[in-house]
Amino acid sequence: MALSIGIVVVSFVLTHMVPGNPALANLGQNPTPSEIRVFDQRNGLDKPLPVQLGLYFVHLLQGNLGTSQQTGDPVAHDLSMAIPATAELAITSIVIALIFGVGFGLVAALRRDGVTDFVLRILSLVGVSVPTFWLALIALYLLFFKLGIFPGGSRLSPTDTAPPHVTGMYTVDALLAGRWSTFWDALHHLLMPAMILAAANMGLLTRYTRSAVLEVMEHDYIRAAKAKGLSRRTVVFGHILRAALPSIVTVIGLAFANVMTGAVLVENIFSWPGIGQYGYQSSTTLDLPAIAGVSLFIAVVYVVVNFVVDVLYGVLDPRVRVE
């Protein structure tokens, strides 16, 4: 909570200290002084900064995040449209990263120093080090332009229409409405950006899982488990992976950070109308309420993710449970 407030204060003060003038940024090339005055009044920019900040918090307590200068709509409304789009992308990408990252890491550790290990380590290195925007462009060029396997951006085909709004996640909403063709269309559009966003995390998870698993494998109890004749499957999943999980969970916290930063690039390249694109556009137009809203949202995501990670430690490792 304190962290979120701190982040809001910092982002609010920083965006106000940028030596740019939102009225000039929004009123075309010929604003008259009276237009600038009306703009400043409408957006509360004529008041001193501490008063603006105070008012922001008062409105925040009432659930009012202000009105975006860029869209003219309440920021809360804009966020409610953008968050589901990003959530759909982020969740899919985290799931992809988890399945492949943990899987690859496990396989690499079990086949330590073999060809498979070598290949997977190279793959994870590539995933971690290749810039997301470059990977996105290459994927767009190859998978959309040359091969036509995936569509080239946005959430649905232009000929399709969005399913009725329930969660805002098109795949889920299409299923709820029973519109299978829209579901496939949405999923088809979702997969490529989600995979790109997953690449860095997949690499990260592969590396962490591999080293965590290798470390666990050194322990005596693993040797004992093998010696008493337990099946390989029980040893790997019941003993090794279980013991390695806490370190993997730590990485998921980092993975969320990657998704949030990666989303800005991936959403822009794939025309995905989520938080990343909204934040990017509002920062380039000095849309102060929108920037503060996005910062608040990201702060809350971080706090929640870290909380969940802490709770998961306790679930996974009885030794760190609070007495």
Partner: protein, 537 residues
């Protein structure tokens, strides 16, 4: 549509690096579009890809390029233009009459026109719509500054100007001055009262529903995703060819790929180099031409900011020291040297034959004549944006090189656009590289460049600097005879070329690329594309 602010800030083609990579990637494939499958559109749907710059679908609040495309399709205006021509044509008004002194314009409205909900369009709607623009005091309000709008019977509208204003017919073509259904908008919180800037709440309503009489209606609106238009069954004019138009927010890099894979598709933000690479592709049509945007240098006239630039000889040396031909070549096919400040395609635009030619010997002589030793000037430019795919840095580096050759040292200063605009308006810069995009296709939009005008004042060029030029500007801006007016504006620009702190550089190239089966793929200087005029062969 305006230039150096809304567009500057929003047109984040800051992904120019991204675009460059995409060019590199596609360069060797040239015309590899044989994958022809109609992936992104079906018969009856036109897909237009563009980098969205839109803040509202409410015409009275909208002055952005994408907003103009949308509002031009949703709302009729009193007069309009067709295709890429800037010639004024009837729209809601079938005819108009100007008083001899160009202060009173009387418009006769078309009978039998209905809004998309079936309500008839009358003069009351026109008066409401235009007064609402004035009183909302949003970005387009300045278009109607000093104008008074009244109705004279249900089908006659009178626009009176305090001073003679022959640009009125051109101004009323602006999509921001689209006519809305007064009753419906008022029912949803709209107001045209003097205090509308505080009391009007119809913006959100008009972002969801259109209340116009134009060829299309709004079915889906999102400022960073997709805008969907559906043909208006009640439209009075020729039915549009496409039942549905989808505008998608796409980066230039994506547009380049999409237009090659799609059908019934148009890309609006490709650079002329990208368009050139597609010219041999038989499934596409690519057009490049000179954009009405203008790149120019502006020097301060304030000796306290720069004693060097306040020197007339140095100003003239800059004028003759620049390699304009090289600059045009850098800007790509379709770009031209700007002979004056008014685009060549507008009334009063100077033909390129009038353009200043580089003369290094003369420039060097002028520098020597100035008596200044090692004259040094800082050139500031917005670093994070590009116009028509051309970055300011590219041109600034050329200027630095060219002027270095004649003995003027240029320090380039790259500034992000938001702080750039603030410092530019506050007379903080010595030499600025800027640009101007037309608000409407009329030379009166360029009166701001005369001494004391809003652009000149940014760098301290007051009316007292050249009263004769100010007087000539007043005459040109108020003469109702267009032939005479064109002559006066040409004179003004010749004088500006002889002596002024403005140095017109180029009109960059603009490109539009579309599927080859489409007709009406043409760029309009005001609203880029009239989607209702796009058809199929």
């Amino acid at each position: 549509m305006s230039g150096i602010s809304a567009v500057f800030l929003r047109r984040r083609i800051a992904l120019s690096a991204v675009a460059a990579l995409a060019i590199a990637l596609t360069a060797y494939t040239g015309s590899s579009s044989a994958h022809g499958a109609a992936r992104s559109s079906s018969a009856g749907t036109l897909v237009v890809d563009t980098s969205f710059i839109i803040s509202s679908a409410d015409p009275a609040r909208d002055l952005d390029p994408t907003g103009y495309i949308v509002d031009h399709a949703l709302y009729d205006t009193l007069l309009t233009e067709h295709g890429s021509s800037t010639k004024v044509q009837p729209d809601l008004a079938t005819s108009f009459k100007a008083s001899p002194n160009a202060t009173t314009y009387t418009f006769q409205l078309r009978h039998g026109v209905k809004f998309s909900d079936g309500t008839p369009v009358t003069s009351a709607d026109v008066v409401f719509s235009l007064n609402r623009v004035i009183n909302l005091k949003s970005a387009p309000a300045y278009l109607l500054a000093g104008l008074k709008i009244t109705a004279k019977g249900p089908y006659t509208v009178v626009i009176k100007s305090a001073t003679p204003n022959p640009a009125i017919p051109q101004i009323v073509t602006a999509p921001a001055l689209g006519i809305v259904n007064a009753k419906a908008v008022m029912a949803h919180g709209g107001s045209d009262a003097a205090n509308a800037s505080k009391t009007d709440h119809a913006g959100q309503f008009l972002d969801q529903t259109s209340e116009g009489s134009g060829p299309y209606t709004l079915t889906q609106y999102s400022t960073n995703n997709q805008i969907t238009l559906t043909a208006n069954p009640n439209y009075w004019g020729p039915k549009p060819k496409f039942a549905k138009v989808v505008l998608r927010d796409m980066t230039a890099a994506s547009q380049l790929l999409n237009v090659q894979r799609g059908s019934n598709q148009i890309a609006l933000d490709l650079s002329s180099q990208q368009a050139d690479s597609l010219k041999n592709n038989s499934s596409l049509q690519a057009h490049t031409s000179a954009s009405p945007n203008l790149f120019f240098l502006q020097a301060t006239s304030n000796p306290k900011v720069s004693p060097v630039l306040a020197n007339h000889d140095i100003q003239q040396a800059i004028r003759y020291g620049i390699d304009y031909r090289g600059m045009v070549a850098t800007a790509g096919t379709g770009a031209i040297q700007a002979a004056g400040l008014i685009p060549v395609q507008f009334l009063g635009g100077l033909p390129t034959s009038y353009a200043v030619k580089q003369n290094i010997a003369k420039a060097k002589k002028l520098v020597a004549q100035s008596g200044l030793k090692n004259p040094t000037v800082t050139l500031s430019y917005p670093s994070d944006i590009s116009v028509n795919g051309l970055s300011f840095a590219t041109l600034a580096q050329r200027v630095q090189y060219d002027l270095g050759r004649i003995g003027i040292t240029i320090k380039v200063q790259a500034v992000p656009v938001a702080p750039f605009l603030t410092a530019y308006s506050a007379d903080k810069y010595q030499l600025v590289q800027s640009y101007w995009g037309p608000d409407y296709a009329d030379p009166n939009d360029y009166l701001v460049f005369l001494p004391g005008g809003s652009v000149s004042s940014r760098m301290d060029w007051p009316a007292s600097a050249n009263p004769a030029l100010v007087a000539l500007g007043k005459r040109a801006g108020s003469t109702s005879n267009n032939a005479l007016r064109a002559g006066l504006f040409k004179q003004i620009q010749e004088k500006l070329d002889q002596s002024s702190p403005f140095f017109p550089l180029i009109q960059p190239a603009q490109a539009i690329v579309g599927s080859s089966n489409l007709t009406g793929v043409a760029l309009n200087p005001s609203w880029l594309l009239s989607v209702a005029e796009v058809g199929t062969k």
